[in-house]
């Protein structure tokens, strides 16, 4: 299949244009799908089609895996960490060069505010990549002292071909979080972007080629879960798969590993994270953080603080302030300067969120603000607050993934810690208090992979990130991601022992 010149020029709402090749990126070339299938990607702010992209089916996945496998065995495994560091830093330089373009594409395809894509998403992606670039030449093992006549050591080696299946909520950042460590560790990759947000992954692919990565090291496929995603999860030549998405799909990926070749699996799944605010918290700050904790990215964030527990003595004051703050959010066109909240990603998500809102009303929760569509076109939902909830309600148990928060009261630490743990999830949590002992003790108690104290949603590429319980398996971030993308080999050398 020859390289396709399917380069399109998209006009961005900024007025600028961007050239993007919408084919599959395999072996450093953009190619059509073998069956020639394509699918549409929608602008969620308008509901209109942006463009079509090539769709990868399982035969295309095979082709990409073959390319990645060959690249690993013939080239990439012989490329030094120092070289990988350099290449990854070069890629970062290119992303910096094209930052505004990438941010605009991200905003167009995902619906997040352009200013946020420009100042948060793309820089965070670059920061993540630069962080992991610096790990590429620091992958170490250990010499282990055992006995006088032995020379024993443990090596950390790449897996070979890794599959990455990423969601639509932070398309670029997800690439950074997975490809950063995967490449640093010396793996080659087959990446499936989300069917809702294929565009920035394709732009990224062109930069990979421009940076000088050998062909086949990074392969980028646009496609759907049940076809391309499943093909990756079941593939016999993929040694590891990393998935971020819903808990249900995560479980099917684990099952696919069991049904195929026991590929190593890391899963970063959903959450229903509790945000606990004590009476001695700095109230003004707590309101702002709690607000950002749920409404950032339109609630489409796995660690969203979607259950806010406020200590009774400050509950009324908190609620008033929080309500005012939420009502002041600018919802609208992502490309408008002051927009904070854009549309939800798709009609499917819009419908899901609205049905959760209905269930909240039906199950007796009190709707304080919002609960309805914003505007006439696109998938906008007004910031929504429920109060007077109980822990059994659907809106308190299930991940809504939208701008919907439930705020309730508590009296004692013991009570709220128990409530915090009443869901199947354990991704994140937060506690607001000025009492350091309380902060440390409660963070000890909370069953969550990330605990924020007096803040929320801060992303750090260097710390471990992942879920307790059904929020996931494995950890990304920091040295822990390096552990996820390598496997250990012990070598024991006999220096003189005979039988």
């Amino acid at each position: 299949m020859s390289s396709s010149n399917n380069e399109q020029t998209l006009t961005l709402p900024t007025g600028k244009t961007v050239k993007i090749n919408t084919c599959l990126f395999i072996n450093n070339e953009f190619v059509d799908g073998i069956d020639g299938k394509r699918f549409e990607t929608i602008n969620p702010a308008t509901g209109k089609v942006i463009t079509t992209v090539a769709e990868a089916l399982s035969n295309d996945v095979d082709k990409a895996v073959d390319a990645a496998y060959e690249a690993y065995n013939k080239v990439w495994k012989n490329v030094s960490g120092t070289e990988r560091n350099k290449l990854m830093n070069k890629l970062c330089d290119l992303m910096e060069r094209d930052l505004e373009e990438m941010a605009a594409l991200e905003s167009l395809d995902n619906g997040k505010a352009f200013s946020i894509a420009k100042f948060a998403d793309v820089p965070a992606t670059i920061k993540t990549f630069r962080y992991f670039a610096g790990f590429a030449d620091k992958i170490t093992g250990k010499i282990v002292e055992t006995d006088h006549d032995k020379f024993d050591y443990v090596l950390r080696e790449p897996f070979g071909v890794c599959g990455a299946i990423i969601p639509w909520n932070f398309p670029l950042l997800m690439i950074g979080m997975k490809l950063g460590p995967a490449l640093a560790c010396g793996n080659t990759i087959v990446l499936k972007s989300s069917e809702f947000t294929p565009l920035t992954a394709l732009k990224f692919a062109s930069l990979v080629k421009e940076a000088g990565f050998p062909k086949g090291v990074v392969n980028v496929l646009s496609g759907f879960g049940p076809t391309a995603g499943s093909a990756i999860a079941h593939h016999m030549k993929i040694s590891k798969v990393a998935f971020t998405g819903s808990t249900n799909v995560g479980k099917s990926i684990l099952k696919a590993s069991a049904d195929s070749n026991l590929k190593k699996v890391s899963l970063e799944l959903g959450g229903k994270s509790p945000n606990i605010i004590f009476a001695d918290a700095n109230l003004e700050e707590a309101v702002k953080w709690a607000h950002m904790g749920i409404f950032f990215n339109h609630g489409q964030i796995c660690v969203a603080g979607s259950r806010v527990y406020v200590q009774d003595s400050i509950y009324d004051e908190f609620l008033n302030k929080f309500k005012s703050y939420a009502e002041s959010i600018k919802v609208g066109d992502p490309f408008k300067e002051d927009t904070y909240q854009g549309p939800q990603i798709s009609k499917i998500q819009y419908d899901r969120i609205m049905s959760y809102i209905e269930s909240g009303k039906n199950e007796g929760a009190k709707l304080l603000i919002g609960g309805e569509r914003h505007g006439e076109e696109g998938y906008f939902i007004k910031p929504t607050i429920f109060t007077d909830v109980n822990e059994n309600m659907t809106i308190m148990q299930e991940e809504i993934f939208g701008p919907v928060v439930a705020i309730s009261k508590f009296s004692t630490a013991e009570e709220v810690i128990e409530k915090a743990h009443l869901t199947k999830y354990g991704l994140a949590a937060a506690v607001f208090t000025q009492d350091i002992t309380r902060a440390l003790k409660i963070s000890n108690e909370l069953q969550a992979g990330t605990v924020w104290v007096n803040c929320y949603n801060i992303y750090e590429p260097a710390v471990a990130f992942g879920g307790y319980r059904e929020s996931g398996i494995g950890r990304e971030g920091g040295k822990y991601a390096i552990n996820e993308y390598t496997q250990l080999k012990s070598v024991q050398i006999n220096l003189g022992r005979s039988l």
Binding site: T82, N85, K86, N89, K127, R130, Y131, A133, G134, F135, A136, D137, K138, T140, F151, I436, T437, L440, K441, N444, A462, G478, K479, I493, L495, G496
Partner: protein, 492 residues
């Protein structure tokens, strides 16, 4: 490249660099001529620092460390600065290599490699700046216990003349990665590339003023730095003699922490099971690279008895093919020694040795000056030496190889190799894995090379023991050298 243009541009920066400026000299400042060791001619003037410059630098560094522009920078910011320094070095590679070669007498092709390695060193340590960690200890509801890693403060970095830019990079990069401020004193003969580094930092990065300072000078400046009560650490590369003074100065002033990377009389051990041609080539470069002016130069050679004669014959032939000449000539193997002092010192040792050994005829090749101009000495080999000879024991720092009497058993050669006051490096040549492992385990040095020599990638710690000093450059260990661990206990 126009050499005289490059040199002319350098005159603006051939002076102390303090608080992000190349100083305007006062009447107390003296201008010094730098001599090109290939031609013995003066090629540039440098304004040396004076003691009060050290005080000024310490004040600038102290203020900088407390400034908001520094305190607002996190590890990722320092990383980005270090990456820019690496890029800056790469961008200016030709000029830096030219000056290093002119100044040191180092073959231009070696200078180019070293400049490239210097950039890589910065790139490597950039990746540590955002990865500094402490430890947490068992979760416990009574206490929260942990360690945090902090910068040390102001680091005095003193480098030697043999690898000016590279050694500066070895120390500057990890030091900055850890968040320290720096006062760098290059060797008096070779200040230029360190000042060019300052220029790169000043023009290509946003490193806050006062964090990086360079003061060219000799032992007066060295003394000011090592005795300064405002400097928190000194990392020194140089001779054992001066190293002792550094340690002493710390003891007499403020107990600043000290790292010493001193000399060596490094053993090379060649077993009979090797490919002799390859071993000869390795040994040749191990000894004569940089004209032997290398702390880890291979300078004592132990050959297994049954390959002794063949090896020496081949080594002699290899040496006969050596091209010596002006350092800028890209076809040469060896350049001159650094200056007249070293040149005289080495000549004296050679003359004394030749006189003492006259009746025994243990001179294989070399032994005298090469040419009439420039500090060139022929690559020289003495052989069949007793372990107790002066040149079997003392560091010469010139292109002189001492081949000691051959060995018969591995136990014997290890014992003899260890019988030295130094402990910096060693090389072993064998195809027998068990022999290699035995030597590696039992030889008392900081770096061992097996079937190769002189490789110093950034990730391997480098530093010796005994009279070769203590502490490590490079590797994760240097991050430990340049940071301070604080233990914290919260009672809950």
């Amino acid at each position: 490249m126009n050499h005289s243009n490059v040199l002319q541009n350098l005159s603006r920066i051939a002076r102390p660099f303090i608080n992000n400026k190349f100083i305007i000299p006062t009447s107390s400042h003296i201008s010094k001529s730098l001599i090109n060791p290939s031609t013995e001619e003066s090629f540039i003037q440098v304004i040396e620092g004076i003691s009060s410059d050290v005080d000024l630098a310490v004040k600038a560094a102290t203020d900088a460390l407390h400034s908001t522009s520094w305190l607002s920078l996190n590890g990722a910011d320092r990383r980005n600065i270090l990456l820019k320094i690496a890029d800056g070095i790469d961008k200016n590679l030709e000029e830096l290599a030219l000056i290093e070669s002119l100044n040191v007498g180092k073959p231009l092709k070696d200078a180019k490699l070293e400049v490239s390695e210097s950039a890589e060193c910065f790139r490597f340590f950039a990746g540590y700046a955002d990865k500094l960690t402490g430890h947490t200890f068992c979760v416990d509801n009574k206490y929260r216990l942990y360690t945090i890693r902090e910068p040390i403060g102001i680091c005095g970095l003193i480098t030697s003349f043999n690898y000016p830019l590279l050694l500066a990079s070895w120390k500057v990069a990890p030091s900055l990665a850890c968040g320290n401020a720096i006062i760098l004193k290059p060797a008096p003969q070779t200040p230029l590339t360190s000042l060019m580094l300052a220029n790169i930092i000043s023009t290509e990065t946003e490193l806050p003023s006062g964090i990086f300072n360079v003061i060219p000078g000799d032992e007066i400046i060295g003394k000011s730095i090592t005795e300064h009560k405002g400097i928190d650490k000194c990392s020194f590369t140089g001779s054992e003699q001066v190293g002792r003074k550094v340690l002493s100065a710390s003891s007499l002033s403020n107990l600043k922490s000290v790292t010493l990377e001193l000399g060596g009389k490094n053993a090379m051990i060649v077993f009979s099971d090797v490919n002799i041609d390859k071993a000869v080539e390795d040994v040749y470069w191990a000894t004569f690279s940089n004209s032997g002016q290398n702390c880890c130069a291979g300078s004592r050679l132990f050959l297994e008895e049954n390959i002794h004669d063949e090896f020496l014959n081949k080594l002699k032939k290899r040496i006969e093919n050596t091209k010596i000449g002006n350092s800028l000539d890209e076809t040469i193997d060896l350049g001159p020694l650094i200056d007249h002092t070293q040149f005289q010192k080495v000549q004296k040792i050679l003359n004394n040795t030749i006189n003492e050994l006259k009746d025994n005829n243990k001179l294989l090749i070399g032994g005298k000056r090469f040419g009439d101009v420039g500090f060139f000495i022929e690559p020289t080999v003495f052989y069949d030496l007793d372990d107790s000879e002066y040149i079997s024991k003392e560091e010469i720092f010139g292109p002189v190889l001492s081949v000691l009497k051959p060995f018969n058993t591995i136990e014997e050669v290890i014992k003899r190799a260890n019988n030295t006051k130094f402990g910096l490096a060693a090389g072993v040549w064998t195809n027998n894995y068990l022999k290699a492992e035995k030597v590696v385990r039992e030889i008392k040095v900081g770096t061992t090379w097996v079937n190769c020599y002189n490789l110093t990638p950034s990730y391997l710690p480098f530093g010796g023991r005994k009279f070769s000093g203590f502490g490590k450059d490079l590797g994760e260990e240097s991050i430990n050298e340049f940071s301070f661990i604080k233990s914290v206990t919260y009672s809950l």
